[in-house]
């Protein structure tokens, strides 16, 4: 990036850092196939609960379940920019897993043009930065945007 700062995930093991095609990392139960995000230590399907758990990359795309625009600065531990930049959050139902996952929208996304059912894809974005590093997190953006 232009800043020349190192780009590091804000949290380890929650998503891949492929700049073009990032994926969320969840858990899959080898016995019943149930998938979870974030990762889980044991299967939470009450009819199973005994399967071995493995890491699995989740669908990169999904459809909007709902969305909102946050206009007020949240309290810590959110690291807000100064001055505070409002941001939007979308709840997106993953195509294959039929699991709704929250994520900030990529800055500049036209929220007014979004609607329930709109196709979205996963992206990487900067959550905040300090003098040495940019801290990356998964974000949602309209497919093809």
């Amino acid at each position: 990036m232009a800043s020349g700062k190192a780009r590091v995930p804000v949290i380890e093991g929650w998503f891949t850092t492929d700049e073009d095609r990032p994926q969320l990392l969840g858990s899959r139960c080898r016995s019943c196939g149930a998938r979870f995000f974030p990762k889980t230590g044991a299967c939470r399907n009450p009819e199973c609960g005994r399967g071995e758990i493995e890491e699995v990359a989740l669908s990169r795309t999904g459809r909007v379940w709902s969305f909102t625009d946050n206009r007020y600065q949240p309290p810590p531990p959110y690291v807000a920019s100064d001055p505070f930049e409002p941001y939007a959050i979308a709840a997106v139902e993953l195509a294959d897993e039929r699991m709704v996952v929250l994520g900030q929208l990529v800055p500049g996304t036209d929220v007014a043009a979004l609607g329930v059912g709109a196709e979205m894809e996963l992206a990487l974005g900067t959550l905040y930065e300090d003098d040495e590093r940019e801290y990356l997190v998964w974000k949602w953006r309209p497919t093809g945007a």
Binding site: F36, W65, F67, P75, P76
Partner: protein
């Protein structure tokens, strides 16, 4: 057991007014407890069991709220319990007291919840806790409580054509109903235009669509029906308490989660979590939503009150706006909702709130709700939901 054998009497109710008083939660709780004991005509020494609803924002005394209140009232040797289930804590504390009475282990129990809250958004308690989803949702997403309320509200608009004006009308209704409630924090009637002119917090919701956080305290004195007979000829009774958890897969995104369960492998339950909360209470009480005269629902936001109309069975999905706009849920309507003024007029005092809902139904069913009385009310229900999967519903009957 037949339904009537599972009832306990509400002998007394009391509250410390909601506000931003800046004093200790212990003071609010003991004040509410004394008011409830006076209302019951009992002395503190008559109480055999104290059930406290915890607060997590006031240090160690808040985690052992039952004992904290018992000590503040003067050690009496009463048995004690303290519990926490977020916004549902009050209902859980009531359920514990009720179970002890129905088991024959005590005759008289006191249930107390109180809170002192900081200004602004609820924030996670301090310290770095990267394993705690309630910490992580703020850190990784900036997902505040209003974020989730905004998601639910936007979905109502998209699915059912709800408008910001519909949401504003919920606030207008509740602000009028709570205006005469001496325990409410806000007593000013608010207009639609005032709501729509307030700043957007989490679109489509505005500042006046979202409930504040408050200080307050509430208490109830419960007893066995046998004990009640000599004290109150026809006491108001608790006919059911529901503290259900969700069923897998829970497909609605809920605080403080990042994701729902996956419904790819296992079909979602017939009844979503929020619908299941009062359903369990109705079953236990042997009633249905048609039997209700009024309801107190958890209006964390105006739009969420509309969701509750559907979740508790007052109407089908997508019909809540019509119910509101026809005046059905206003005082004088078919089924008044939040006659107390609701969270819109109180603001949220977490561990006290579910107890306060029961106080309101008790006053209503006794005919003592001055200025906001639902005429001839005989059956009421409360509902709310606590973070991390806590259902909370109480059926109160005369």
């Amino acid at each position: 057991m037949p339904e009537t054998d599972r009832q306990v009497a509400i002998l007394g109710v009391g509250m410390h007014p909601w506000g931003k008083w800046g004093r200790s939660f212990v003071e609010y709780g003991t004040s509410a407890a004394r008011a409830a004991l006076d209302d019951a005509g009992l002395r503190w020494s008559d109480v055999q069991f104290v059930s406290g609803a915890d607060t997590i924002r006031n240090g160690y005394p808040g985690y052992v709220a039952g004992a904290t209140f018992a000590q503040a009232l003067g050690w009496s040797g009463a048995r004690v319990s303290s519990c926490y289930s977020a916004c549902a804590s009050g209902a859980t504390a009531i359920d514990i007291a009720r179970a002890r009475i129905l088991a024959g282990l005590c005759d008289v129990a006191l249930v107390v919840g109180a809170d002192t809250t900081p200004k602004g958004f609820f924030a996670p308690v301090g310290g770095d806790r990267p394993e705690d989803p309630d910490w992580l949702r703020f850190r990784l997403l900036g997902a505040t409580n209003p974020t989730y309320f905004g998601l639910y509200a936007r979905r109502r608009m998209e699915l059912y054509g709800a408008t910001e004006r519909d949401f504003a009308r919920v606030k207008v209704k509740n602000s009028r109903q709570g205006a005469a409630n001496p325990n409410a924090r806000y007593h000013k009637a608010v207009s639609e235009d005032e709501v729509l002119a307030s700043p957007v917090v989490a679109s489509p919701l505005r500042l006046l669509d979202i409930c504040a956080t408050s200080d307050g305290g509430a208490a109830v004195v419960l007893s066995s029906m046998d004990f009640a007979r000599s004290r109150r000829p026809r006491p108001v009774k608790i006919a059911a308490v529901s503290t259900v958890t969700p069923r897998y897969p829970n497909t609605v995104i809920e605080m403080p989660n990042f994701a729902t369960d996956s419904s790819a492998g296992v079909a979602p339950p017939d009844r979503p979590f929020r619908d299941s909360i009062t359903h369990a209470a109705y079953q236990e009480a042997g009633i249905g939503p048609d039997d209700l005269d009024l309801a107190e629902v958890y209006d964390l936001s105006t739009a969420l009150e509309l969701d509750w109309y559907e979740n508790i069975g007052l109407c089908k999905a997508g019909e809540a706006e019509r119910l509101l706009n026809d005046g059905d849920t206003a005082l004088g309507g078919r089924i008044p909702v939040n006659a107390s003024g609701g969270l819109a007029c109180f603001g949220e005092a977490v561990p006290a709130q579910a107890i306060a809902q029961v106080c309101e139904l008790t006053w209503q069913l006794r005919g003592e709700a001055d200025g906001r009385q639902v005429e001839g009310a005989k059956v009421g229900v409360t509902v709310n939901q606590g973070l991390f999967g806590h259902g909370s519903s109480v059926v109160v009957m005369r």
